[in-house]
């Protein structure tokens, strides 16, 4: 208990009886539940859906579809996890994904190298600008990335003649393999997202940078006193988030052989939802990469299940996902509270 300064040691000091062994064990279980809550709900949902819908849901093909659909949101949510743990937020990712997809398809006329480097370069640069304005100029992340949301969407429209042109990637371009090829039956986006999550997990849990991000989110003043290069770390955070959104856009364009300027609206909110469902606190300082992965998968499993039911209109789906988000957050909240008792 005393090691976990972020979750209320004050109460423990005020209430010494909470330190007896039974309570400590209960606390530990609750802590695990909060951290692994999304994973638990995910497993239960998958089991229930498998029983109810049988092979319509529980087939290798369908699971691969869910994983593929998750890979795009996953890459975006991964960058978002670091930013939220660091006490910030990035609203620009949905627009960046669209911009990247447009630039991928636009760049493909100059070859596959351009189709990858152009979007990554532009999205990375916008992410970098976000980071500099937030880290160095100390502007508020919400408003800076909101401006980037507008800017990137505007740029995507400007490139595509106000959205009137949908660039296509010519068949045979090597870049298409990024979205369409498969290794032992698993499509490339799944592999890329999986690898990214592995790297992200190691960085957050094992690298100095990850610990620093959590320190900044926990208390920026304390992190400054510790001598952490806060500005530089924030710049890296937002630049990486821009790059990951760019990468997701490249994969989306390669998957659909085209770049549309209208995709990805509201994706930033989905990513934030996935991160929060995964047990990362929006106030910063605490979070987990596996949790985000579970959150992303959970959102996509729910979507998939709702589609299987078929009788639900798309409007009802929205209501269900809104209610679902509230329930998950309430459950997490009550677990976190129980921990303090």
């Amino acid at each position: 208990m005393s090691g976990d300064t972020r979750l209320g040691t004050i109460t423990a000091a005020e209430e010494p009886w909470s330190l007896d062994r039974a309570a400590t064990r209960r606390e530990r279980v609750a802590a695990q539940l909060q951290r692994g809550g999304a994973g638990l709900v995910l497993i239960v949902t998958v089991i229930v859906a498998s029983i109810v819908f049988g092979s319509r849901f529980a087939s290798v093909d369908n699971f691969l579809n869910i994983l593929e659909a998750s890979s795009f949101l996953g890459l975006v949510a991964l960058g978002m996890t670091f930013i939220i743990i660091g006490g910030g937020i990035d609203l620009s990712v949905g627009s960046l994904l669209a911009l990247s997809a447009v630039l991928t398809a636009y760049g493909s006329q100059y070859g596959s190298a351009a189709a990858i480097l152009l979007p990554l370069g532009v999205c990375g640069a916008i992410g970098l600008a976000n980071g500099i304005l937030i880290g160095r100029a100390r502007m508020q992340p919400f408003i800076v990335t909101l401006a980037a949301l507008l800017f990137a969407r505007g740029l995507a429209f400007a490139v595509s003649d106000e959205g009137n042109i949908i660039f296509r990637i010519a068949s045979g371009e090597p870049v298409l393999a990024l979205g369409q090829a498969a290794v032992i039956g698993i499509r490339i986006p799944i592999l890329i997202a999986g690898l990214a999550f592995l790297v992200g997990w190691v960085v957050l849990e094992r690298a100095r940078y990850g610990g620093g991000v959590a320190a900044i989110g926990g208390s920026e003043d304390a992190a400054r006193l510790m001598g952490l290069p806060i500005a530089r770390m924030k710049v890296v955070m937002y630049a990486v988030s821009g790059l990951l959104a760019g990468l997701a856009g490249v994969l989306v364009a390669a998957r659909s052989s085209s770049g549309q300027s209208t995709i990805g609206v509201g994706l930033e909110l989905q990513a934030i939802a996935a991160v929060v469902i995964g047990g990362t606190l929006l106030s910063g300082g605490l979070g987990s990469i596996p949790g985000t992965l579970a959150g992303v998968l959970l959102l996509n499993v729910i979507n998939n299940v709702i589609n299987q039911v078929g009788t639900l209109s798309s409007y009802t789906q929205q209501v269900v996902s809104g209610v679902f988000l509230i329930i998950v957050v309430l459950v997490q909240r009550s677990l976190a509270r129980r921990q303090r008792l």
């Binding site: 980037a148 106000e162 209501v319 809104g322 209610v323 309430l330 909240r333």
Partner: protein
């Protein structure tokens, strides 16, 4: 507070108007003034509620969906007469505000997540209510609300001004207003000082949602149609922008009513200016983004740097 922080938005507004008077044909006409004012009304009304919520260190992403719900309810209950329908639409907004407020004040859920859930779920609910369809509305009372003028000034503009006055009095002259600013400045200290934090936060979200419902009713009356899949889309971002550009910090503890109105008008005029100079939509967005950044940059809290 630095001079630029207090007055930046007014200076920008004056510069922009001066530019238009010189460079834009047909800007200095009564018709254009009316048009710009009428168009800014929904964002301005919502931004007023948003400013109060932001004053408590909160945020409300659900306002666009509340507009959609009130619009859908209005169309559904119009058969019972316009007054009943408007009342039901307002109650709909009130209920969403209550849910937001209870989730945030009672259960301690972070405002951005709670209102995000209502953004997603609320839009779905509006579409369920309206069966996903656009409903055309032919109702004399709503027609009057949408298009009547008093002494040459559109009625909806007068409504917005009246709301602004009420909110300004609420913030500067009542205990509720003092509490809002106190909570935004320091929630823990306010709680220790005996401020009824939960009730005040609940009140702020209810106020914001009811104002969003009013904006939904006005928009529906003006368009003579309830289109729940479209009305209020992304208006939360415009409203937040107006509030922040108007000098209310997102970190709470300060509410600027006049600045918020000026912020809303500024963003409206920027859009109109760029469009009247034949800039495409894409360029308009990019320029708006840069102006938001510039406005917030000059208003930066110097104490931090």
């Amino acid at each position: 507070m630095a001079w630029t922080t207090r007055n930046g938005v007014y200076v920008a507004l004056i510069v922009l108007i001066a530019f238009n008077l010189v460079a834009t044909r047909g800007f200095a006409t009564v018709d254009n003034a009316r048009l710009q004012l009428v168009q800014v009304v929904p964002v301005a009304i919502i931004a007023l509620g948003m400013a109060v919520v932001i004053g408590t260190r909160g945020i409300d992403l659900s306002v666009g969906s509340v507009m959609a719900i009130s619009s859908a309810l209005l169309a559904l209950y119009l058969g019972y007469g316009a007054v009943v329908a408007i009342a039901v639409a307002l109650v709909g907004g009130l209920l969403v505000g209550l849910v937001n407020g209870v989730l945030i004040a009672r259960f301690g859920i972070q405002p951005i997540v709670a209102t995000l859930a209502l953004l997603v779920g609320g839009r779905g609910l509006a579409l369920v209510i309206a069966n996903g369809r656009l409903t055309e509305i032919f109702d004399p009372t709503l027609g009057i609300i949408g298009s009547a003028r008093v002494g040459g000034v559109p009625l909806v503009v007068l409504v917005a001004v009246a709301i602004a006055v009420v909110v300004a009095v609420l913030i500067t002259r009542t205990t509720f207003g003092r509490y809002v600013v106190a909570i935004g400045g320091n929630p823990e200290a306010s709680a220790l000082a005996g401020v009824p934090v939960r009730r005040v936060i609940l009140g702020a979200y209810v106020l914001c949602a009811v104002l969003a419902a009013v904006a939904g009713i006005i928009q529906t009356a003006r368009l003579s149609a309830a289109d729940p899949s479209f009305v209020g889309n992304l208006i939360e971002l415009s409203a937040i922008t107006a509030v922040v550009v108007g000098g209310t910090p997102l970190s709470g503890g300060r509410v600027r009513i006049l600045g918020t109105l000026a912020g809303a008008l500024l963003m409206q005029l920027i859009g109109a200016t760029l469009i009247s100079h034949n800039l495409p939509d894409s360029a308009t967005r990019m320029v708006q983004a840069l102006i938001i950044l510039a406005a917030v940059f000059v208003q930066r809290d110097r104490a931090l740097s």
